[in-house]
């Protein structure tokens, strides 16, 4: 099953295009956002992508996550009986 991952280059300068091309060539992987100088967003089965990134120096990988605006307001969770 495919999932969405963010790959970030930790080395000096911008992300190496050769590394990005290796990700692009991975079977089942689709690069959905290449607009960052240091990152790409990839939809891929986890295992083969993790194996590939493990061979690329200076890259880290994590599932894409979401963060919220912190709120302090109480909310109703259920109506009265």
């Amino acid at each position: 099953m495919k999932a969405r991952f963010v790959l970030r280059y930790r080395g000096a300068g911008v992300k190496p295009e050769a590394d990005v091309e290796r990700v692009r060539a991975l079977a089942g992987a689709v690069i959905v956002d290449d607009s960052s100088a240091r990152m790409v967003v990839v939809e891929s089965p986890p295992a083969p992508l993790r194996d590939l990134v493990g061979t690329l120096p200076d890259w880290v990988m994590a599932p894409e996550q979401t963060y919220v605006v912190p709120d302090t307001r109480p909310r109703v969770e259920r109506p009265p009986e």
């Binding site: 607009s35 605006v69 307001r73 009265p80």
Partner: protein
């Protein structure tokens, strides 16, 4: 939660990796890590200061150390050597599957009514002229602990209809949150019916709220020469705000649209830092002289942001030479990509200042707890908000040396905290007007503004590298005044520059 004098276990690390290298940037970390190998008398000597420490384990003479420290000693160590990472030891436990819960749901009858029965229609009006208050969120609890009740939004006539099960209902708590222009309202143990009319007090921009209490004087040039990036929901055009530029890093959206996404949060945050208005017709932030940049990471109308958008915004802020990056967001799982972005910013001479989260005394949330960022909790002060406002429900122990000061009930806490800021009942800019909101989201920009005021020209001229960020941390922390809550609630205290 440990008291200030109790010890906890920490890992002390160099700026990157597990071993201090031989570069100039690692020199101070190397000195401490090597020095810790031969600690005598349980005290580590740094620049003449004696920091109580017990070294439990070490991976190498120049490597990470497992130590026991009091929270106060951990703060001292961070202050004396800001390049070090001093990270509380985290123990992981297996995730336990949640116990299935039965949730009551409304049952729709043929008449279209819910099983909760008849609705109550209340009216919300202005205390000033009895005009209807439109768009206010009304939250009514018959059982507050069980979060049982009903909520709605006032219409054009200021009316809201709530299915509360009877024509007259005793509420344990009633909250009203206006969109803008008014103080919120809380009522406890109140009986409501369709005859109920609730009045809201208009905001007075000359009122001394928490930010204006701690930062009463903000001259036009306060923070001049400092560039601040606000990574948030975007910032709207407003008469009190000057926005130098920014970017939208939400995938699929216009990269140049960094205006408010409709949630108003980022515009409020920006005003706390840099609003240039003059009361009573406008409002003034902590550092009106900064150059303000907006980085929108929340999609249009959305309350959530992706780790990719946030990391990309941090990168862009660094590229745009932001000195300080305000992040009033968080709460998700730890993420190596976002951690890397915060660390890379620090290594490039920029400093992320991040809200600790509003989960009510829970541990400091991610990414605030990252040791490369400054984590900010929220405090309030009695007398800086009306007793009828919802903020009255945020008053809780611990109280400060000055008993009017309290740590906000909603604020997260922990040894990762660096600073505390005023975050209860804070007035600031929103699209088309002004609103008062509470949260660590508001405390964070108050601290960011104060941080901007503490940066000297000498620091700002430093090469954009880790030593510059470290110098900024030292400068900000040096202005902090403890309020008496203790380090696990306030870090070094509230920054009071000038």
């Amino acid at each position: 939660m440990a008291k200030a004098t109790e010890t906890e276990q920490y890992v002390v690390l160099p700026p990157r990796g597990l071993r201090a290298g031989t570069s100039a940037g690692d020199a101070q970390a190397r000195e401490v890590l090597v020095g810790a190998e031969s600690v005598t008398g349980g005290r580590l000597s740094i620049d003449g200061s004696q920091v109580p420490v017990k070294v439990i384990d070490s991976i190498a003479s120049n490597g990470a150390k497992l130590v026991e420290l009091s929270p106060a000693s951990a703060l001292a160590l961070r202050f004396l050597r800001p390049g070090l990472r001093v990270v509380p030891v985290v123990y992981y436990t297996p995730a336990v599957a949640p116990i299935p819960q039965v949730e009551s749901r409304p049952v729709t009858t043929t008449s279209g009514r819910t099983a909760a029965g008849d609705t109550i229609t209340m009216k919300v009006v202005s205390k000033k002229d009895k005009s209807p208050v439109v768009g206010a969120i009304v939250v009514a609890f018959v059982d507050f602990a069980g979060r049982t009740g009903a909520q709605g939004v006032t219409d054009g006539a200021g009316q809201v209809s709530l299915a509360l099960g009877a024509a007259s209902v005793q509420l344990q708590r009633l909250y009203i949150y206006p969109v803008d222009g008014y103080w919120s309202l809380i009522k406890k143990n109140v009986t409501v019916s369709s005859a109920s009319v609730l009045t809201l007090a208009p905001l007075d921009l000359a009122y001394t709220d928490g930010v204006r209490y701690f930062y009463p004087s903000s001259p036009d040039d306060a923070g001049a020469g400092v560039t601040v990036g606000v990574v948030d929901t975007g910032v709207a055009a407003h008469p009190d705000l000057v926005i130098a530029g920014g970017a939208n890093t939400v995938p699929g959206e216009d990269p140049t649209d960094f205006g408010d996404n409709g949630v108003h949060h980022g515009t409020h945050v920006a005003g706390i830092i840099a609003a240039r208005g003059t009361p009573p017709t406008g409002i003034r932030g902590v550092a009106p002289g900064v150059s303000l940049r907006a980085y929108r990471v929340f999609g249009q109308g959305s309350g959530s942001a992706s780790s990719f958008a946030i990391a990309k915004a941090i990168d862009q802020a660094v590229t745009d030479k932001c000195d300080l990056i305000n992040m009033s967001l968080g709460g998700g799982q730890a993420d190596p990509v976002l951690t890397a972005a915060v660390e890379d910013a620090r290594a490039a001479g920029s400093l992320c200042i991040i809200a600790a989260g509003n989960d009510g005394r829970k541990p400091v949330s991610f990414p605030a707890y990252d040791d490369r960022a400054l984590a900010v909790s929220a405090m309030g002060r009695k007398g800086t908000f009306p007793t009828s406002a919802t903020e009255a429900g945020d008053v809780a122990a611990p109280y400060g040396t000055d008993k009017k000061n309290f740590l906000a009930d909603f604020s997260n806490v922990g040894p990762q905290l660096d600073l505390v800021g005023p975050g209860v009942g804070i007035m600031s800019t929103v699209p088309g007007g002004y609103e008062e909101i509470s949260g660590t989201s508001m405390a964070c920009p108050a601290v960011t503004g104060a941080a901007a005021r503490s940066l000297t020209p000498k620091i700002l001229k430093m090469k954009r590298a880790a030593a510059r960020s470290d110098a900024m941390v030292t400068a900000v922390v040096a202005t902090a005044k403890p309020l008496g809550f203790g380090p696990t609630f306030e870090g070094h205290g509230v920054p009071r520059p000038d």
